[in-house]
Assembly symmetry: C2
Homo-oligomer: 352 residues x 2
């Protein structure tokens, strides 16, 4: 970034380039509010008083892709960002930026999909705004979705179970920084599906079978997991993929993470698609999936409940938190160990 | 709109065309939540439990204009939408959609301006998101600003004063629909400044003197007014201008409004600029101004306090609420009466 004085696509792709932009420009001007979880936490959502609050913009291109569309992405994205903190979504606010020339029928399809996704999540849009810009490079529309949530009913129980295992635990929410040595890492399902589905739609590619996005609201699945208890931290590995999410976690919680490559669920067609394109499935952005840091003794119980849900049926324990090192390492299929670095940027642009 | 099956600029310009889009497409899919002030209220913000919630997207072009920029507009816009409901802004959420090629120095100027505006309003950004899109027609960036607020400290006093004058008054917030026959209409200052300032920047025009935007957070001014009491309803006459705001008010509250043209404060250079361009200053979008519906007996007290503030020094009583008719009428300078219709769309596109 030091050689560039302009915004490039990588500034919006998750990963190290975006991280530098946030730290160099955004935090110095906009940070500073003393609240339980504020801007500096760079967590999935903020906590102000008893309100969990999140704002997200969606620019995916094309706006329709196998398995989803920009409307579903916006609803699920905000719902999931609230849910992974331990919140129940209460209401959404929706700002549309429409491009001149957008077909009413396409706009209506997006609205219909938002409605379906809201129904699935059990949440409503209560406020909004509509703007129109001249035809350009948006590809139809941008959806800005903000949301407010309140403490999930099961959160207190979940935290009580954590405290049985970890006496000094004092967090009131399931925050990134909570992760500690000895926790197990669970991934709720296969990775790469969403990124490859959007890429196939962007480039008109097909990979033998049809790869579809798994974008969906996960708040009900997360609620069931919290009812089991023992979850210390949750994240959704969206832009920058699993590699980015694990590295962010490691830095924020100041711990090492060891993942086992053979345990990471990846669909075979996604793996082949990534190989054909020369991209790393660990760096491709996901939707519809979360990673959980769980107290060791609760791991099997949490996994069993996850596997009984439709969204979490492919869940696996993919690794553990360690003090052997302070970065993310991967035990590869062939038995070696390698560092899993923070990606520079998601290899697939505008996937969410 | 019936002849068009595509989005046109007027769909984002306030006024009747936008209203039809919202009613035909957005409300049928996204409405329906049973809450104190929801999407159907089409008010400035929503109320969910004790949280006031608002989401707004900003697409002004150019991003810098005399008197302001997109960052100041976004902060002030959301702060003011919360404040006119009777809420004190608590926290903001900010989503940036940056265009590839945007200069870091321009981004930094926007952030600096947001910081200044947040400081003025006494509010912080606590959560956010950054996306990047290919270079197109955005003109640099889009800013999506959501906000949450809580009941203003002075709101209870204000409502108590209203109830002294109006026994059946039972609203807990300063809503559009509260307006009733006998209320006076106060405008907090001159209209047209912002729209003309943006237009001059869009078209490279100058109108003799320099017309600057008056965009600013108004929450402190509004708090002082609520401390006087007797305010039943407030609106900010942004897109679609004063004509749009008055018509919306009349429809929602099912009352007639009579305004006196000679009492509407308009700067002379703004009036001349509008005449040169053949546009109606009553239909040009504003920032930094509000209209208030006030119980008759409190009107002079409210006006006096407004005039003592920097933001409200040019405030005037511009009309009254009547049951003589059920639309908006204007007593013109030459003494006649004419209907002031709902504008089709703001004559100046992308002003906020």
């Amino acid at each position: 970034m030091q050689n560039s004085e302009r915004i490039i696509m990588a500034h919006g792709a998750g990963g190290a380039v975006m991280g530098t932009l946030i730290e160099r420009f955004v935090l110095p001007y906009l940070g500073g509010f003393q609240t339980e979880v504020g801007l500096e936490a760079l967590d999935d959502a903020a906590v102000v008083g008893e309100v969990v609050f999140k704002s997200d913009s969606h620019v995916v291109r094309p706006i329709f892709f196998p398995g989803g569309d920009i409307g579903r992405l916006a609803v699920a994205g905000t719902v999931n960002d609230l849910a992974v903190l331990g919140a129940e979504p209460v209401a959404l606010g929706c700002g549309f930026v429409l491009e001149e020339g957008l077909d009413f029928s396409d706009f209506e399809l997006v609205l219909e999909s938002m409605k379906t996704s809201c129904d699935e999540a059990g949440v409503f849009v209560v406020t909004g705004d509509t703007k129109v810009v001249e035809k350009g490079a948006l590809g139809g529309l941008v959806v800005n979705m903000s949301g407010i949530g309140k403490r999930s009913k099961a959160l207190a129980h979940n935290l009580a179970v954590v405290r049985k295992c970890w006496r000094n635990f004092d967090a009131r929410w399931v925050l990134d920084k909570n992760l500690r040595v000895g926790n197990k890492i669970i991934l709720s399902g296969t990775i790469g599906d969403h990124g490859l589905a959007v890429l196939s739609a962007q480039e008109g590619l097909t990979f033998g079978s049809k790869i579809a996005s798994d974008v969906k609201p996960l708040n009900h699945m997360i609620e069931q997991v919290l009812e089991v208890g023992g979850v210390v931290s949750m994240k959704d590995p969206t832009r920058g993929g699993l590699a980015n999410a694990l590295n962010e976690w490691s830095v924020k919680a100041k711990v090492g993470i060891l993942v086992h490559e053979e345990n990471i669920p990846i669909r075979n067609d996604v793996r082949i698609g990534c190989e054909m394109l020369g991209i790393d499935p660990l760096e491709v952005g996901n939707e519809g999936k979360i990673i959980l840091g769980v107290e060791d003794e609760m791991t099997n119980d949490v996994l069993a409940v996850l596997k009984r849900t439709k969204e979490g049926k492919d869940a696996e324990i993919i690794g553990e938190v360690t003090d052997e090192f302070s970065l993310v390492a991967m035990k590869t299929v062939v038995g070696g160990r390698r560092i899993l670095p923070m990606p520079v940027g998601d290899p697939v642009p505008r996937i969410c």
